[in-house]
Symmetry: D2
């Protein structure tokens, strides 16, 4: 399974009045993970734009397990989930660097869209087929 992990300090501005990371920031943490994954594996937004595609989210889910506090680091693991559908699916696990426990998990689904016409791809775009071959992803 193709995955990538980053670690980043919790910022003061991300912590709410209960002294824990505000839940909405995890959605950005997921994107932080996705962007780092994309940079590593050549699947970043800018790589995708070069193929005249945007990849808007259609679905997002988050399960919050434990809190994350200021002074701690978030370890964000992003995993590529292979699918035969014309979709880009990632799973996420955020762990507390200090305590080792899982803070939250999530999943996102993106589709391939031609930016100007806003038309969606029904089948996997050729560059994604090529990308999967490059990384030896042989299908679900």
């Amino acid at each position: 399974m193709l995955k990538h992990t980053i670690q980043q300090a919790v910022k003061f501005s991300e912590v709410d009045s209960l002294r824990v990371v505000w839940h909405g920031h995890y959605v950005r943490y997921f994107e932080d993970g996705r962007e780092a994954f994309g940079k590593k594996y050549g699947l970043g937004y800018l790589d995708i734009y070069q193929h005249n595609l945007a990849v808007p989210l259609i679905d997002l889910s988050v399960k919050f397990k434990k809190v994350l506090e200021y002074g701690d680091d978030a370890i964000i693991e992003t995993r590529f989930v292979d699918s035969p559908a014309a979709k880009l699916i990632f799973e996420y696990t955020i762990t507390s660097a200090r305590h080792g426990h899982v803070v939250c998990t999530g999943q996102s689904t993106q589709v391939f869209m031609e930016p100007l016409s806003k038309e969606l791809y029904i089948t996997m775009p050729p560059f994604m087929e090529q990308w999967k071959k490059t990384w030896n992803i042989t299908g679900a």
Copy 2:
């Protein structure tokens, strides 16, 4: 069904380089809706704090349907979903004021926690039972 609707302009800072509201902001829109619902029906964070309770999210899901652009207003409908469990469940529908179409939908689940001990309630807290009676919510 108990529900509340607010309308607010899309802010310049919420719009991304594709000229649409960045997906993560909808999580805040949901909280905007939830806070307005709470203010209307006496179920705001501050009302709940008065009963020595916090209500952290444990689950969140969003389905993105259409984009929302700068210059448009978001109409955010927040609906209370009754449940016999010791949970606070809301559903959301965000609509474009200009186009009338649904932009996204979502659902959130919160639990009742004693802030100091971090202990969760297994059964519905008494004040919530009372709150349901006040608003004639008779159970699922």
Copy 3:
């Protein structure tokens, strides 16, 4: 002096671990004020875009006087500051609705830029001269 005032509730996500609005959010509050001013007086970003202009900030200053807490409303006053220079200058005063005291003040300066060439205007663009006439602003 041309000015406009809006009032908006402090959001839970804007409050930091010291239980007051995080200082960086006031920059967005200023833009909230500026956008509402623009909508009222026909000087919004979209109005300006119609004249093929963008108005990037070149200067921003904020003085923080008092804190603003969750449960309170921010009253944001935005004042147009006339200037013979090819600049768009606004002053801001944010007041606590509950306590009546000034929370912070600020000033921003924007310039007129042709979006594609990124060239700046040395003199006031014609549409701004017209806009000033419309609102009887006769010069500094």
Copy 4:
């Protein structure tokens, strides 16, 4: 002069519809720099809290020079500005990693406050005198 530099990728969510980092995010970039400086030199918020002090901002100014685009990295330099007053002053310079030019500069001023009583320090708190000695800062 005591200073510290960090480098971080521009995030997709930080870029506005003009395809450049939205101006308000630089205020967070400054805090990112300040937090990293604090972690390096033992002057972080948590270090300061240990001395029963909070350090709210009273003044912030930003000068925007050039834009910063998605795909680029921000190089954030944070400099401690010594002062005999009971204030914590930092200067910031943000540079584009790709182009080498200065994107923006800024300055912030914080005061020392006893968190419960909200009383401000008129003179430099003892721990700051000690901190300055530790780092051989001999006064303005």
